[in-house]
Structures are given as structure tokens and as C-alpha cells.
Amino acid sequence: MEAFLQPGFWVFVLALAGMYGIFSLGLQIQYGVGGIMNFGHVGMMAVSGYTIAVLVITYQWSFWWAALVGVILAALLGALLGLTTLRLSGDYFAIASIAFAEIVRYWILNTDSVTGGTQGSLAIPSPNGFGGYTDQPDVILNWISDRLYPIIGEEASRDLSMVLVVWPFFLLFIWISSRLQKTSWARVLRATREDDDVPRSLGKNVFRFRLQTLIIGSVFGGIAGVFWALQFALLAPEDFLRIVTFYGWMILILAGSTRVKGLFVAAIFFGFLYGATRFLEFWPLSLLSSPERAYLRVFLIGFVIVLLMVKRPQGLFGKRQEMVLE
């Protein structure tokens, strides 16, 4: 239990929350505004993360350019996903999107000579025999810890520096997204969430709106991938399992998908659940092995979601009235 009292624990929770929060911002605009059920969002994160690792390690690019290209590729991947499958009806798109992300992961897994395969980013071929890619951003993270050290001493960790970097971005993106959701563009998009025919009959190109939304969401997914790559300084194919997409969905459901502003609270709550399950070592949970306790995380989070669906379908911050209109 003391673990929860450690500042380090909360710093880790916040770092996770910021990263996953940005990730779920993508799902929020896609589903909460556009009604697009994307279950392959993790694919965007994998693409940008791996793009950075490969470009920096193998091709000696600067981290910043690699990050930019990574996000652009995530956006292009979103466009590709949309162009190929977005004309499918909602349920079919959801299934196709899962397959899409799995293809990305299998490609990473099986293209050892580029991605390092099962061994992850450490095995990405490098001209100088070293598989790190965070040297440049680490300069900034270290600079931040160095400034904090005189004030808070040993608590000035890399995680804390990450929190201080990620959160301003997270809050900025929430702000931008909420502005975007007040435009007439978003109004048409909300209409497409309920019905295709009405906007079409009024001269709106429903496909264009959906495609744009998918791409915007993918950009958020890609940016989350940049922070992911930075946070862990190491990538492996199993970082990008389907479950990661569902973590993003959990945050969205917690927050209530139609309100972007509640997202940061839900993200912290998720970060807490995620982080806390590592420390559930007291009896009777201490009887479980540590992989078993990791499953407990999925179980616990699933349970919270089911509870919410039953008790508060609109999420913590959504309007109930919106859920009951027929």
C-alpha cells in the first residue's frame, strides 16, 4: 500500500495518463463526434513509434524529423485505412480496423531486418552498433531534471520530465480538439454519426467528413506513438497489441465520448488503475503470481467499464439526455 504514497507512483500515473490521453483524443473525435468505431488505433501508434526508431537508429536521422515523418505516416495510414474500408458500414469497419492494426503489428514482427522483429528496437540494424534513439530528446529531459534537482532532489526523475513535456501537449490538444468540435464542420460530422442520408441529401460529402476525421484521429494516435517511444526508449511488437486500443477506449468510455474536456480526468483515472494493479501485492492478491496480477488489470478495468455502462452510460462527464433520445 505504501506504493501509492510514493510520489514516483503518481508521476508514473501522470506520464501514462498524458500519453494514453493523447491516444484516446484520436478515438474521441472519431467515435464521439464522427461515430467511427476504430478498433485498430494502436496501429497508428506503432507506425509512428517504429518510424522514429528505424529512421534514427538505421538512418541516423534527427529525432525531431523522424517524429514528424512518423506522425505523417500515421496520418497516411489513417487515410489508407479510410480509403479502403470506410465505405463499409460501422460494424464491418470496426472489424476491418482491427485487422488493419494486426497487419501492421505482424509486419513489424516479421520484418526483422528493418524493425528488429521479436527483439524489438534493440535489434534494429545500426551503423554504429547501438540501438538507442532518444539521445536528442534526452538532452531536453535531462535539462529539465537538472533544473528540478536542486528543488526536489531525488524525485527529479525522467518520468517527471516526461510528465512536464507530455501534459502541456495533452492539454493543448484537448483545447484544439474542443475548438474544432465547436465548428460547423463538427456539426455536420455529428449528423453523419446518426445518419448518412440526411447530410447527403443536404449536399454534404459524408465520406470526406469521415475520412478527414479518421486522419485527424490518426494524427493524435501518431503523436501518442512519439511520446510512447520517448517514454520507454525501447519498442517491441508486443507493446502494440489490440489491448492498447481498448485502453484508449476505456478512457473514452470513462470520460463520456461526446465531451472532450473530461478526457484528462478519465486519463488520470485510467493511469491510476493501470499503475496501481502492479502494486496489488497484499493478501489475498499476493497469492497470485505477477502475470496473473497483470491480468487482474484488464479484469479490473473491464469491470469498471461494465459498471459505468450500467450506471452511467454517458460516462463521468457526458450528458445523460443525449443517450436516451430516440
Binding site: 475548438r179 474544432l180 465548428t183 460547423s184 464542420w185 456539426r187 455536420v188 455529428r190 449528423a191 454519426r193 446518426e194 445518419d195 442520408d197 440526411v198 447530410p199 447527403r200 441529401s201 443536404l202 449536399g203 454534404k204 460529402n205 459524408v206 478527414q212 439526455q321 443525449e322 433520445l325 430516440e326
Partner: protein
């Protein structure tokens, strides 16, 4: 038959259109032309193919054969939203409203040429907001026309069936149509309001020179406002003429057997 090139007042020219859904043929070899600024009603029994015809005209379904010209331009193979942008706008039988938008938003969503509909508009907030103010004003004016003003900021999902019809009609008008296809706009609307709506439509025709094509079950309702009545049954046009001549037509009486007996 009239030739669309010769008579420059023809707005819609439908030539031999059919549609085939795996053997079901709701519209079979239908041809007619509509002149600008006229009011035409389409009547016919349930399943006659009236809504299917509208689906073809609006591009929501594609014709299996035949051609449709709107203002002289072939539109049978272009996207539904492009057809609407050209000014041929439809409503739906049973009024489709967007429940989780407010009543005013339902209307504002329909405005044509909104710079804010384009993502680039995000970066020109001034133009976007100016347009928004105008759109809101127009929406409020339209709502006033149909007596829905007090619901402006409520979710459209709370409206009653009849109110939804009114909203649907007002929303179509927001899209700045030159020709309106209305699918049973009066069904389920109370008689006093039907009278009022008929007046509104007549005024729109006069003031904004909108051409109307309207589906209605009850011939009596549209007798006075229509210049012309087209009767459909089993996917075909079985009669076409002045309202009075249709009223007397034997074929029509056949097709309508049940309902006409009751009416007269």
C-alpha cells in the same frame, strides 16, 4: 413528349428510368418533365414506387437504365451530395431528423457553402463566425415559419412526429434548393397546420421561385396547390394531368379503389 433543349423552362427531365433490385422493380421505364416554378404532386397507392422514384432523382439509388437531366445536365450517375449542391434537394418519408443535434443545429447544418464545413475554415475563425451568425438568423426565421421557435435549442430528438416533419421541411429549405422533392410532408400533420404549410409552400414558390415535386397520399389535400398530378402504380405512371382530370380518371379510381370510396 417535350424536348428539354427546346423548352428552356424545363428544370427536370426524366427519360425512361428504371431500377431493379435483384428482380424487384419499384420504378419501371418512367419518363416525365417538370417545368420551372411549377407545383406537381405524385400520388399512388402504397408500394407504387413513389419513394423509389425520389431515391433515383436524388441520387440516393442509381438508375438501372434511363437518364435524368436537371437544368439540362445529366445527373443519373453523380453522387447524391453533388445533386443536392446543384439545387435539387429532397426530404424523407417519415422525416429523418438528427436527434442529437438541437433543432437550430439541424437547420444550420444544412446551409450551403458554409466556409466552416471545410477544415481549412478552422483557420479563418472570423469568416466562419460571421457565416454562423447569418446561418443562425436564417434558421430562426425558418423555425418561426413553422412555429418551432421555442424548440430552437432543444435536442431535435424530443420533437413529436409532426414537428419532425416541419423540421425536415425547414431544413431542406436551408440548403437553398431550386427544386424541392417532398416525400409526404403532410402525413401525420394536423389539418390546420397542413393549411398553413400549403400557404408557406405557395409563398416559397412565388417568392423564391422554387419548383415543387411532392408525394402525397390524399389527392384532396393537394388539389388546389398542384398545377399537375402524376399518378403512379406498380412502378409506372398511369395518369398525368391537371388535378381535376385526375380526379375524374377511371384508372386512378381503380388504383385507389379503397381510399377514394371513403373520401367521396
Amino acid at each position: 413528349m417535350e424536348n428539354s433543349k427546346a423548352a428552356d423552362s424545363v428544370i427536370l427531365d426524366v427519360r425512361n428510368i428504371s431500377v431493379n433490385f435483384g428482380g424487384v422493380k419499384p420504378v419501371q421505364d418512367v419518363s416525365f418533365t417538370i417545368n420551372e416554378n411549377t407545383f406537381t404532386s405524385v400520388i399512388g397507392p402504397n408500394g407504387a414506387g413513389k419513394t423509389s422514384l425520389f431515391n433515383l432523382l436524388s441520387g440516393m439509388n442509381k438508375v438501372s437504365s434511363g437518364e435524368i437531366f436537371f437544368n439540362g445536365e445529366a445527373i443519373q450517375s453523380i453522387h447524391a451530395h453533388k445533386i443536392a449542391q446543384k439545387g435539387l434537394v429532397r426530404t424523407f418519408q417519415g422525416a429523418k431528423i438528427i436527434r442529437r443535434l438541437t433543432v437550430a443545429e439541424n437547420l444550420m447544418m444544412a446551409v450551403k457553402g458554409n466556409p466552416g464545413d471545410n477544415l481549412l475554415g478552422f483557420f479563418t475563425p472570423r469568416a466562419r463566425k460571421a457565416f454562423e451568425v447569418k446561418a443562425r438568423e436564417e434558421a430562426m426565421r425558418r423555425l418561426d415559419q413553422v412555429g418551432l421557435t421555442k424548440f430552437a435549442d432543444e435536442y431535435a430528438g424530443i420533437l413529436s412526429g409532426g414537428q419532425r416533419k416541419l423540421l425536415d421541411l425547414s431544413r431542406a429549405l436551408m440548403a437553398d434548393p431550386t427544386m424541392l422533392l417532398l416525400d409526404e410532408p403532410f402525413a401525420g400533420v394536423n389539418p390546420t397546420l397542413v393549411e398553413k404549410l400549403l400557404t408557406v409552400l405557395a409563398a416559397l414558390r412565388k417568392e423564391q421561385s422554387i419548383t415543387f415535386l411532392l408525394i402525397e397520399h390524399d389527392l384532396e389535400t393537394v388539389m388546389n396547390i398542384s398545377d399537375r398530378v402524376i399518378v403512379m402504380a406498380e412502378g409506372k405512371i398511369i395518369a398525368d394531368g391537371l388535378p381535376n382530370s385526375i380526379y375524374e380518371n377511371d384508372l386512378v379510381i381503380d388504383a385507389y379503389l379503397g381510399s377514394r370510396r371513403k373520401d367521396s
